[in-house]
């Protein structure tokens, strides 16, 4: 069953067409990578899926439901969680506090002036569980703004996890990271995919990460869909090579 079906979406900003007639179908439990040279419209595409922007045309169907007009915060409620190219976290709060907000919102407590002792205990349990999964337990009481880049990304992923989503959207999770951090994030994403069977869509520039993780790859070039297939198919695809090499030349 297709968890996400994006059909012929386009997005125009005045006369600039950032995304042109892109379609994508992702099955439950799949890890899909979206790649393409700079300016291919990948982040704009993500913005359309997550509700940050509304498409000029086309539709987004999530779990059988048309969400094209649904605002961003509603899409979170029905199961989409997203990380951003530039890490979006709460810098002056601790890791624990960051995740706590996510857990409380997911649990439906966001308007509560008060929670019971047992509810608070359950919240704490879920926070600990999430932090263990991303490996930040030892840094739980550090201010997120003071952490290293890689740890900040882990914290952001922890928040996304705490939302108990059906679909993860990771926008260049390893952007700006060195080899060691890239390795750790890749391993984390792999764990989430393999061990927990999450459905993940990933924008990535680092090809090692892409080929290491992806079930299927979608290639965009200048806002248009260029190719789609397994890692081997894409690696062998001449049009894809030309698009990347063409940019370099």
């Amino acid at each position: 069953m297709n968890l996400l079906e994006v059909q012929n979406v386009s997005k125009a900003f005045g006369s600039l067409i950032a995304v042109r007639d892109v379609s994508l179908s992702v099955k439950q439990g799949e890890l899909r990578a979206v790649i393409g040279p700079n300016g291919a419209g990948k982040t704009t595409f993500f913005n359309l899926i997550s509700g940050f922007l509304h498409p000029t045309s086309g539709s987004v169907v999530f779990d059988g439901r048309d969400v094209t007009a649904l605002p961003a915060h509603e899409r979170v409620k029905i199961g989409m969680a997203r990380t951003f190219q530039i890490t979006e976290i709460f810098p002056e709060l601790t890791v624990h506090e960051n995740v706590r907000i996510a857990v409380e919102v997911e649990a439906g407590y966001r308007l509560r002036p008060w929670i019971s002792r047992s509810e608070a205990a359950e919240v704490k349990r879920r926070i600990d569980e999430t932090l263990t999964l991303v490996g930040l337990t030892s840094k739980a009481n550090r201010l997120v703004g003071e952490l290293a880049h890689g740890d900040q990304r882990c914290a952001e992923i922890a928040m996304a996890l705490a939302l108990r989503p059906r679909l993860f959207l990771f926008d260049e999770p390893t952007a700006g990271m060195g080899d060691q951090e890239t390795y750790e994030i890749t391993q984390l994403v792999r764990r989430l995919h393999r061990d927990n069977n999450f459905t993940i869509i990933l924008i990535e520039h680092d090809m090692r990460v892409v080929f290491h993780l992806a079930d299927r790859i979608t290639v965009l070039d200048q806002g248009r869909p260029l190719a789609e297939g397994t890692a081997q198919e894409i690696a062998a695809n001449e049009a894809v090579q030309a698009a990347y090499l063409g940019k370099a030349a």
Binding site: I101, E104, R110
Partner: protein, 319 residues
């Protein structure tokens, strides 16, 4: 939070309350007088109400004096036309300002940042203008007069808060304590944490599933209720309500108190109010040009002291 932090917080809290409870005794020897202390409490409460939005939700509300003024007029109207009851006047004032805030808030939360500030100021001025023009009801520029705070009637005995400054001080202190407790309670709740989330990173808050505009509206409405309550107390303090309390320059004063004392600290605005009130009191008695000095104070604080007095300590989040 570590045990040492908790202990430190408790001690600080105890000191603050001790100072507040004993104010009528340590103020006079220092050249102060009880009514000044009452004034600090009331204006401090107003500054804390503004900070509820400014420091804790990160929202630039600059027209908040409108609700302060509405609270004052509400209390005055209640005492003049409804019943000679101080508690009732407080309730009426709070309702007038709070409901106005709730209604206007629906329009206001559609903007953000500096535009939000502009709109809040402009709307605030509407009430100033009404108070000024509708002189048959409000007394216009002269203000609303002809009422005074009524003794508290507990059936078996009553407390005179009109002529006894100390009694009134403690009455205000009790009211202050109640509102401050409510504020603190909310800030430490899950809802309060969403407020801080919005301040820290609005986009991330939205992408956690928080309907940001709605939460801002709720925070706004709450702060308007608190603000109006402070305004009602102010009317009782002065036995008088005037349009100046609605003017945006009053709003600026409240914001300055919050900034001066430290926006990220719960008690900062109270300290800021104390400093501001004392300074203004002193300045207006020694020079005609006290306005320039207040203006210079604004400039100096902004340029050199933006974290405020209590912000000099490393601000660990209060939520």
């Amino acid at each position: 939070m570590s045990d040492r932090d908790s202990a430190r917080k408790l001690i600080m809290l105890a000191c603050i309350w001790a100072a507040l409870v004993l104010a009528p005794y340590w103020m006079p020897p220092l050249g102060g007088y009880t009514a000044l202390g009452t004034r600090v409490l009331v204006l401090g409460l107003a500054a804390m109400s503004v900070n509820f939005l400014l420091g804790f939700t990160g929202v630039l509300s600059f027209g908040h004096a409108a609700y302060f003024g509405l609270g004052a007029y509400g209390a005055g109207f209640a005492l003049k036309f409804l019943a000679p009851s101080s508690p009732l006047s407080l309730l009426m004032g709070m309702l007038l300002g709070g409901v106005a805030g709730a209604l206007l808030g629906t329009l206001l939360v559609r903007r953000r940042g500096v535009y939000f500030a502009m709109v809040t100021i402009a709307f605030g001025q509407v009430f100033y203008y009404i108070a000024f023009q509708w002189s048959s009801l409000t007394g216009g520029d002269d203000g609303l007069r002809g009422f005074s705070r009524q003794p508290l009637d507990f059936g078996l005995f009553s407390i005179d808060i009109l002529s006894n400054a100390n009694n009134f001080y403690y009455f205000v202190l009790v009211c202050f304590a109640i509102i401050v407790a409510v504020m603190s309670f909310i800030l430490h709740s899950p809802f309060g944490r969403t407020m801080v989330a919005i301040r820290e990173n609005e986009r991330r808050a939205r992408f956690l599933g928080i309907p940001v505009e709605r939460h801002i509206w709720i925070a706004f409405t709450l702060s308007c209720f608190f603000m109006a309550f402070a305004g009602a107390l102010y009317a009782l303090l002065n036995n008088f309500a005037d349009p100046k309390g609605l003017h945006f320059s009053q709003s600026g004063d409240f914001v300055m108190m919050a900034v001066m004392g430290g926006m990220r600290n719960f008690w900062g605005p109270l300290l800021g109010a104390a400093v501001f009130v004392v300074l203004q009191d002193y300045l207006s008695s020694v020079t005609v040009n006290w306005m320039s000095f207040v203006g210079m104070l604004f400039v100096l604080v902004v340029l050199f002291f933006p974290r405020g007095l209590l912000g000099v300590i490393r601000p660990k989040s209060d939520a």
